[in-house]
Amino acid sequence: MSGETLRDVLVAALFGILALAALLFLIPTGVQAPSTVEQAALSPDFWPKVIAWTTLVAAGLLLVETLGAARMSAPGPTEDPETSYDHSFVVGLLRALALIVVLFIYSMTLERYGIVVPSIVLLPLIMLFFGERNPLTIGVLSLVLPLALYGFFRHAAGISIPLGVFG
């Protein structure tokens, strides 16, 4: 099974499962419909059900199409000057996962510490992660950008940016 076929099978399976989950669990528990509805099409769960069924049918067809028919040859990806800098698949995936985890940890600190201070801490970490090594650039940007954005939103736009325990 080629990588492309495997990917499409994965898409079909993933969305098929999601559609089934929506029909069997998410819609019955997540959409509250009144006990009496004049027209079925007016019911709050009508539209979500139509979408879930369409997803299920499309996922099924994608699975059949992928497994049954020979795939058309897709055009090659657009020439990317940075392709030669790609990490191996596993390393790349691990780095992406690490970044996602860091970003979620950052987002969880916002409630308590506000946006400004966690951003001052996060910025140098991501810049180092992405390969910036100039300490002056890292230091200045990490400090100036969140403070400048805070100043702009707070004073020019009148939007109160949360400072958490530092406020």
Partner: protein, 501 residues
């Protein structure tokens, strides 16, 4: 003639001429900052108009409005961070152009298209306000519904090699658009005890998450480029030949913008998508759409900016605000003791003509200030990714928060970033998701309102010439796209109509 001379003397003051420029400048800057929306900019400028003369105050707001509509394209093209749903359409081709080192060309085309569309829209406002207002009033929910169905056929065009993946992507967008309180019964849908979802998922955090974050996360899979390596060149600006090439799409998009802008409640996003769709359908190079086609940028911007003058039509002619921005402008009129509508045309003709003069001047300002903005903002495209992406991320966090002043939207943005990254890795096209998410609420609301009006009778969807025309256009569009796909499958070659996205 007397009225025009009086209007000219009312309009020709240093304050009026300055204030339009200031408005356009503020709007452009606000539009370019993710999270700062045009309605926000207009609302922020409103208190400053209290002490101004009515014409001066309203011209300031109009300047902010027009600048804001254009400004969204700057961040959309340069950092793939659309400030508005309509600017999300500009991302589809604008960002790939910037990635190819043609940022200046994309920005120039966006500016020229915006200015031309804005000018056409202003002309339509001045010349056809009465006629367009009457036409707009003939649009009820069934007409809206068929119009949105027709707009959704673009999904088939931007799905790339796999139509089924495009449909799945669109379904995901439609499903997420249903989150929130049900509009008819007021019952919760997919809230799961999270009260912050009652109003649904906000557009801006979802769009920022879907476009900007996957790019940043994907960057993590690459090694750092050596120090000194430039991210990309700015390239040359657009040539006259480029402008000539896109002119048809710009005019077409402007007309869509004018017609849809005149209909209350539609806004710039459907106009941008419809214009983009039609440009792709009529283009000699449809296979380039989604990969960096200037015609795509031009069409999206023309559709988006074509609504600018036209949204004033229902406001001035009927006193009906078509969207949040015109509602704020209506507020400005009322603060100055004026009530837009037919009576305003009769009793305050001089003021109306003075406003028209200012509106026309705003198109010129847009060109000049847009050029300056391009010069200033385009340098973003040369900042190395290792510095730019962390900056963009923090900008996205501030922006996502600022839309509704809630940290919940930051979480939404991050979650959508992960969804977008998975879609990127699984090669599920994002464009259908985006179109469905933006148009989904309009589609469902108008469908259900039609059912209510028709008391369950589905013939309401073919109740008049407008609905029938849209159904015919939808069928024709689907027929052409499906035939192209079948032909492509038979010959084993990609059709130009199936390779976009």
């Amino acid at each position: 003639m007397d009225v025009i001379l009086q209007a000219l003397s009312l309009f020709l003051s240093v304050e009026n001429i300055l204030v339009i420029g200031i408005g356009v400048l503020i709007g452009t800057i606000i539009g370019a900052i993710p999270g700062m929306t045009t309605p926000m900019g207009v609302a922020l400028a409103l208190p400053f108009t209290f002490s101004m003369a009515p014409v001066t105050g309203i011209l300031l707001l109009l300047g902010v409005y027009k600048g804001g509509l254009y400004g969204g394209s700057l961040s959309a093209i340069l950092i793939k961070t659309p400030g508005t749903p309509a600017a999300a359409c500009t991302v589809l081709d604008g960002y790939p152009l910037a990635q190819k080192g043609e940022a200046r060309r994309a920005l120039d085309i966006a500016l020229y298209s915006s200015c031309i569309a804005d000018f056409i829209s202003n002309l339509a406002l001045i010349l056809f306000a009465g006629f367009l207002a009457a036409f707009a009033l003939s649009f009820g929910p069934p007409e809206f519904f068929t119009l949105i169905v027709f707009s959704l056929t673009i999904i088939a065009g931007v799905s790339g090699p796999s139509l089924l993946k495009g449909i799945i992507s669109a379904c995901l967008g439609l499903m997420l658009a249903t989150v929130g309180l049900d509009l008819i019964y007021g019952t919760p849908r997919f809230l799961f005890d999270e009260w912050q979802l009652m109003g649904g998922l906000s557009f801006i955090p979802v769009l920022i998450g879907l476009f900007a974050l996957p790019e940043i996360i994907h960057r993590a899979t690459r090694r750092p480029m050596p120090p000194g390596a430039r991210r990309q060149n700015l390239g040359k600006g657009a040539s006259l030949a480029d402008l000539k090439r896109v002119l048809r799409s710009v005019f077409r998009g402007s007309i869509f913008g004018v017609i849809l802008g005149a209909i209350p409640g539609i806004g710039g996003a459907p106009a941008a998508f419809l214009s983009y769709s039609e440009a792709r359908r009529n283009s000699k190079n449809p296979e380039n759409f989604g990969k960096g086609e200037i015609e795509g940028v031009a069409a999206a911007e023309a559709g988006n900016n074509g609504v600018a003058g036209a949204t004033m039509i229902p406001l001035l002619a009927l006193g009906i605000p078509g969207d949040v921005i015109t509602a704020v402008i209506l507020g400005a009129f009322m603060i100055h003791g004026l009530r837009p509508g037919p009576i305003l045309f009769e009793q305050n003709q001089v003021m109306i003509y003075a406003l028209f003069m200012g509106i026309m001047l705003s198109s010129l300002y847009l060109l000049g200030i847009g050029k300056l903005a391009i010069r200033f903002f385009s340098h973003l495209a040369t900042v190395p990714n290792r510095i730019l992406y962390p900056i963009v991320f923090v900008l996205c966090v501030f922006g996502a928060y600022a839309v509704n002043n809630t940290l919940f939207d930051v979480q939404v943005m991050l979650c959508m970033g992960v969804v977008g990254y998975m879609m990127l890795r699984l090669e599920v096209p994002v464009a259908p998701f985006l179109i469905a998410f933006v148009l989904g609420p309009l589609l469902e609301d108008n469908f259900r309102q039609s059912i209510l009006i028709g008391d369950g009778d589905s013939t309401i969807f073919v109740r008049g010439p407008i609905t029938i025309i849209f159904w015919c256009l939808t069928l024709m569009s689907l027929f052409v796209l499906i035939r192209a796909r079948i032909t492509a499958a038979r010959t084993g070659r990609q059709s130009v109509l199936t390779s976009g996205g």
